[in-house]
Amino acid sequence: MKRERDRRKAETAAATGKLKIWEEGQPQADAGMDELFAVLGYKVKSSDMAVVANKLEQLEMAMVTTMEDGISHLSTDTIHYNPSDLSGWVESLLTELSSTSSFDVIPQQIGVPGESSSNLISFSDDKPIHQNRKVIYDYDLRAIPGAAICRSGNEDENPNHEPYSVIKRHRSSPGSEFLDNASLAAARPAVLVDSQETGVRLVHSLMACAEAVQRDNMKLADALVKYVGILAVSQVGAMRKVATYFAEALARRIYKIYPQDSLESSYSDVLQIHFYESCPYLKFAHFTANQAILEAFAGANRVHVIDFSLKQGMQWPALMQALALRPGGPPEFRLTGVGPPQPDNTDALQQVGWKLAQLAETIGLEFKFRGFVANSLADLDASMLDVKSNNLEVVAVNSVFELHRLLARPGGIDKVLNSIKAMNPKIVSIVEQEANHNGNVFLDRFNESLHYYSTIFDSLESSGSTQPNSEDFVMTEVYLGRQICNVVACEGPDRIERHETLSQWRGRMNSAGFDPVHLGSNAFKQASMLLALFAGGDGYRVEENDGSLMLGWHTRPLIATSAWQLKPRRVDRVDWVSQLQLSHDFLGESNPLKPLTATTKSAISELV
């Protein structure tokens, strides 16, 4: 790491390159100590950083210029025993030199190391103990590669080590530049590492930390999560963001600082709008669900959509336009929207309904709206929703990213599925994340979600290259970060982001009494076209999976849209049998047909 190198440079006589000192910008909240230094064993106050940096630079200059004067002992014999006074130590070194001349010290400030090139001098590779160097930390972080790679289960309590680092260095030949990768010889201890390797290390550390949490080894987890924090800042782009969010979530879990569930719904609505705009996932979801609904509504004169996830109503303008322009004329369109209560008691649902009504008037569609406020979908009842019977209107139920929340409480999902059945819909469109974040084992959930969200952040990065810092992208990251936090840090009824895969949902819907409806080629074509329009669109893939559509990034599916209809009801079949019986009885003995024998009756029952 850069920091280490800087310190070591100060101690060696070989530092001929410019000494670049990275100054930690803001003082950390950690009792004023610089966190990064602290983990390595040095206690440096953040407020002193500038001074220390200055002095280190002076020291280097002094060494460089007075090298011939035999201060080379500084490079080999200098051992720093008192980590709490780094600046004092450097000062003493300086005064040892005959430094009467004033140095022209210009502290060089580099930007965030994450943006530096990969020519960093830092640790050696994964070999924990290097022959020429012994580095001991507070916790034996050598356990990281071991556990994560070998899974050897050696996360025991760490032996006590000295709280400060003892660093010895080979003396490098004078005048040599050791920044150059190519010129490193085997004798030289400084070895190159690049950010890619740090990236691998980062992933391993994250997994090891999760494993430590799984085994309830909180001390190790604590050290690892700090280590992850250090490594994360050396990365750039998507990797960095993902690691930061996961590290934060892990830290919350370890320290039991659970996020307040004060998700003001207006705030989360806003976040979802930014998510809608920055990437195609939600648009894909809306367009494919709309296509299924449109096809189900073919030929109907009155249609009713029940939306479990109204938010700002972004899904409906497209459907309303398609209905308004459909050949044969527009139907009467009724929308029932369900949403959570607002903290300030404003009627957000009604406002959305009003806007949609204005749109409907503009395009010439008859429109009615009703809003329902509910804390959870399980509180709803079909009878509340005023669903007209089948011959008066055709009903569609729509749920985008809402059903998985019900899995947090037992019985929730079954109640809702039963209510849906009671509404007698012609079609139920469901869009869910394609991932299993609801396993019983924390570690599995963690690994799954790490892969899932890394893929999403990757896709964001590729498609956002023209506008990386726009508000949309930043807010989208916040939106995803909240999900990550919920998946990793929360438990029990608070953990609402319980995503499940399409096959799991299929099983659930099947056993609840629904049959799948194939989405058709129109939806597929429209989705493909939509994706082709997106900048960076060549990474997105639309796949058809047994009648459902999945949108993914490269090979990984991320969102799945599926459509369902009610299974034909059993009561109808029973009715048919008794109807048959009745007709036979009615026709009486003159009936040329034979009366139903007992065997015939049972055969018929079996058939239905």
Binding site: V270, Y276, E277, P317, M320, Q526, M529, A532, L533, D538
Partner: protein, 143 residues
């Protein structure tokens, strides 16, 4: 012999302008005030949108006009979609439907959502002609 001035024969002028592509139409709009007001006529842009398509069903015009007009439809939705497609490829009904849907979403965002809520002004970005949701369409696709 009287000199022929095209501006006196507006119907001929219209026929000529109808056959131009979008860029040339824009250039033509800069010629003089007469030409400018002519090219702002939405029917040119309707022709541009539906040129390769059989006549659209009844009612499309009313909807499009209500949502902002054919010129806006062309600039915001049709043109970007065409640019992504291969040159000279026939413009299909599906693409038209998609454009119309996106146009409707654009209207909703721009007119109805854009004014209210916390996510208002800052979202619209550099291109004032398109709402944020369509900005990804308007950018050149640098794949």
């Amino acid at each position: 012999m009287a000199k022929f001035c095209i501006n006196d024969n507006v119907d001929v002028l219209i026929e000529v302008l109808k056959r131009l592509d979008d860029r040339s139409l824009g250039v033509a709009a800069c010629v003089c005030k007469t030409w400018c007001s002519l090219t702002r006529n939405d029917s040119f842009w309707e022709h541009m949108c539906f040129r390769q398509l059989s006549p659209p069903p009844e009612g499309v015009r009313a909807v499009v006009v209500a949502l902002g007009g054919y010129r806006r439809l062309y600039i915001c939705c049709v043109k970007p979609v065409r640019e992504v497609r291969e040159f000279n490829r026939v413009w299909t009904r599906h693409e038209m439907e998609l454009s119309l849907s996106l146009f409707c979403v654009d209207y909703y965002e721009r007119v109805l959502l854009g004014g209210g809520g916390g996510s208002g002004g800052g979202r619209l970005g550099s291109d004032s002609a398109a709402s944020a949701s369509l900005m990804l369409l308007c950018k050149a696709v640098n794949v």
